[in-house]
Symmetry: D2
Subunit: 327 residues, 4 copies
């Protein structure tokens, strides 16, 4: 039984705390959040208790960090120094330099760090990756990742998010690395403000396309939009020498209506809470099992850093209009 | 080059005449129809000429009959006695006794007769049948045929049509025999008037289900409706010991729209002229090639009779509410 | 909090006991099973305890019966006389007379009885029914229910099962009543032994088709097979005056492979444990909420009786080859 | 009746000559090809005659050019100077300078020139474009074009083809311009040799991705491969403010096989002859109707130039690794 303290009782903290509470191999040691009512409500809902931030780093075997991004690196370091295993939501930090520093601290402490790139644990993407690795399509040549949110977050959130590439596309960049099985060496990004001018005024973009090329010549395209009327659009298409694998969206039911307008199936599941509900559980399970077995889980801190470096490059490429050679 | 005279310049005659005119192995010898303007228009459109009914039985190698049902048997007999090969639209006649008489005349004359069950020549159903015969699903066990018209014909037509089973379901009964590869020995029909009370007042039904059972125990269900808002619905599902084969509807394009209402693909092609355009050509081609090669084409006159016998039994079963044992 | 005692620690008892244990509105009072190791294992897995059969009727608010069919009616009666609410797996009994007797006892006791027709709670079928009731396809005219098991149960089970119609198709007959919203007045069944001769030797069939007709003329076809190579095949197609609604199978993932053989998506979920996992939870929730609210849940004991009467009629029709007029 | 002389009796010339011969509004004036047997065979097959190259520019109202690329510009100029309407296969020339010169000659002559970008006439893409123009998805934001050949052409062909971007992707670049309804102002290409090293040795690539950005910020991605095991892969996905439109591949039939491996539908149609058979007819019809009506058909010579300019830029971008700002 791994005891886990949860930091953060917001949207993402609630998901993780509930999954910890339900997991047969873990106990929820307590929840901390500067907003006391949130912590209390979540503690009540999970049969757990409210703890102080200091306690979060002392009373359990592991710390799960679901607090705001700006706190991640500090909390990881505190937990690592206390010898705790850490699961941290992405990103570790918006500054690659700070991430490197943080990872050095974790390495020095010799503790475990896993970063929450939940999409690797989606059954659809995971199965696609497994079949790819099994050779079902020969060697991978082209990868197309489609990732569109149903609607944009508030501009206030966007202002501190690090921008679309670091906040939203970072997931796709990690997924690209995961599926490509190789590091990109060339990157190009193009981006626009098409959804809401206020996003542009806040210095960000809402529509973007990125191209990645690996050393062996594999090519990957990612397209992002902050809006999609038909649900949360999350798809992967992998084209190889012997075939193609696609992982599509999920729907609430298989019901289809036919009439003069045609045959209509359901929109995609609304957003990440629905689409990745099972992925969050699988992700947590991977963390718990790895810690229990003394194995290093992935995505690792280094995966977190590499995705951020790509997101930084994409941000720069979109601004300058120039392709970037990654070392 | 097979010269073919076409009798009938109505909707179905026009299809056949055009296909004869385009066929590289045939010449259109002429068109006859009691309604002179129709004959003239069709002759003009096909670069052919108007001929008399008598000429239709004398000037060509073969006769293609697309006139009203009540004339079929007589014309077949005239053509057979004149030594002509005959392609006749279904049904040969609404009376099984008359059909038997007519087939005897054809047999005595030793000429060729093919009946126009066009669905056997649909690429989808034909491919399903070929894969079934190739053993792709092992031995056939269950067959489900869905056949729904976009809307009912005029009541005036229904009054002389012989009823839904002889006019509409006869196609499905032939298709069932074709796919089952075995004769039904048991039949049950249930029918209702749900589309238009005027159809009921005319003594017919507009919604029907039939069950067939063969000697070896294969089971088949057919469902018919005189209305379908989403196009002409023509599907076959064959379930066997090793798998299932389905043949679905066709659409005009593959375009799909996604929005908050879901993912919408196009309705099925509107009606038989669209869905079976290629089937009519393939059917004619089979006739022409068979005559040229001196082979007997199928569906034969006997196939026409057997489908009618099933339609008669279905009509009776639906009226009496009793299942019927076929000899 | 509704306390529930579970009778039966076999496959179905395990599903229900776990769902009771997880349900926030219920407590699992204990588990009884004549096979002690099964009861103990399930009690351990659910954090519950083993109880005697007598205790099952005394220590809780409600009794959940998942024991063999032959015990259902007796246990329902014992529970009803003890004033307990009862959830019982289908069927109540294989004898309609015994079911009527049992229902009379329940009525006299004035207690609650819900029967486990789980398919009504499948999200796909439930959503189809909701849209039908909302008028999305106008008035229902044709209903086609496809229900095929991946493989047959052991012959030993078949011998005491009451036969395919009472054991397997009874689910579809209930679903037909549920969706039709009207009682069938005419029934015809055709059945064969195509999967395994040993099933025939045991006096049963393994492949069957049933037609139902309601007083208003709605028509329904059900097709059953004891084998399907591509998973557990559970589909409904409802055709109405204004459109068609279909509910299809579910797959484990949305992954699709394309190569020279074509585009291949996954087989249907393997069997009822997978397909109806969520339905079992929803079903139990309905029971718990109804008891808590003092409402009578459906499917009721009467629904259980009516489905059995249809299954009896189908059994007779398939044997005699005659359609049956239901009173 | 428009009389048309066809230059070229190779693969593409045969398609066009047959379509001219079948078209009710045109007559096939003759066929010329330096390879006499080809010209004779095609003349025989179409009921036409062999003519000299000089005659091709004199005996008909219009000239259809399906000869090798190196001859296109010269033949267009000869035909224009002779006052003939011209339909020319893409590309006009591999040199943008030569194309500009040629277009100036056509402009001076005041004659009609249409370039054979057949995909605009595909029913699927055409319908997608029509629905986009009708506002079905609001304003276009993201466009993804997938275009993969079943296999590479011979290396000998590749050596004179101008390279993947000018030979293959030029079709997608034209389609992008057609659907975007706006000129790209920024372009980036990444390309690899993954299919066959011999292609790389010939100085070309076989796998490529291009990103386009328009002045208003619309983004487009194109992905190309010289191989696809599952047929000729030709798809468009257009994402807009109010929804998404997709146009997919076509299959020979709708037949689907289900077994333990899953549900398998057919591969895409094999190659352009099958997929674009109807598009070639529609394209020709547009030319004939435009000439008859005195209208300028599109795609115009200018469309041919603009697509080539994009292909040139893509070729350079892929070589240098730099994004290109288009004037």
């Amino acid at each position: 039984m791994l005891s886990i303290a949860v930091i953060g009782a917001g949207r993402i903290g609630r998901i993780h705390a509930r999954n910890v509470a339900e997991h047969p191999g873990a106990t929820l040691a307590g929840i901390t959040d500067p907003h006391a009512p949130s912590a209390e409500a979540l503690a009540a809902a999970t049969g757990s208790k409210v703890i102080s931030l200091d306690e979060a780093f002392s009373i359990a075997d592991a710390v799960l960090i679901g607090s705001p991004t700006t706190t991640h690196a500090d909390y990881i370091e505190r937990a690592a120094k206390a010898g705790k295993a850490v699961f941290c939501e992405k990103p570790i930090d918006l500054s690659a330099a700070r991430v490197r520093e943080c990872l050095a601290t974790v390495a020095a402490a010799g503790t475990t760090l896993m970063v929450g790139f939940n999409r690797r644990f989606d059954a659809n993407f995971g199965h696609l990756k497994a079949r790819l690795d099994a050779g079902d399509i020969g060697s991978l040549e082209l990868l197309v990742i489609t990732s569109r949110d149903p609607g944009p977050p508030p501009v206030s959130y966007i202002q501190t998010s690090g921008g679309l590439f670091r906040d939203m596309m970072i997931h796709d960049l990690d997924l690209a690395r995961f599926i490509l099985g190789e590091e990109p060496v060339e990157l190009y990004a193009a981006a626009s403000v098409l959804v809401d001018p206020a996003i542009g005024e806040a210095g960000d973009v809402d529509t973007a396309m990125v191209t990645l090329k690996t050393a062996s010549g594999k090519l990957c395209q990612i397209n992002n939009s902050r809006r999609a009327t038909y649900g949360y659009d999350q798809r992967v298409e992998a084209h190889g020498s012997k075939g193609q694998l696609r992982a599509g969206n999920q729907t609430a039911t298989t019901v289809e209506l036919a009439n003069a307008g045609g045959f209509t199936s359901e929109p995609a599941l609304p957003f990440f809470l629905e689409r990745y509900a099972a992925a969050y559980k699988a992700e947590l399970n991977t963390f718990i099992e790895a810690v229990a077995a003394g194995r290093a889980p992935t995505p690792s801190g280094d995966d977190g850093l590499k995705a951020l470096v790509l997101a930084d490059a994409a941000t720069e490429s979109a601004k300058t209009g120039k392709a970037i050679r990654l070392v």
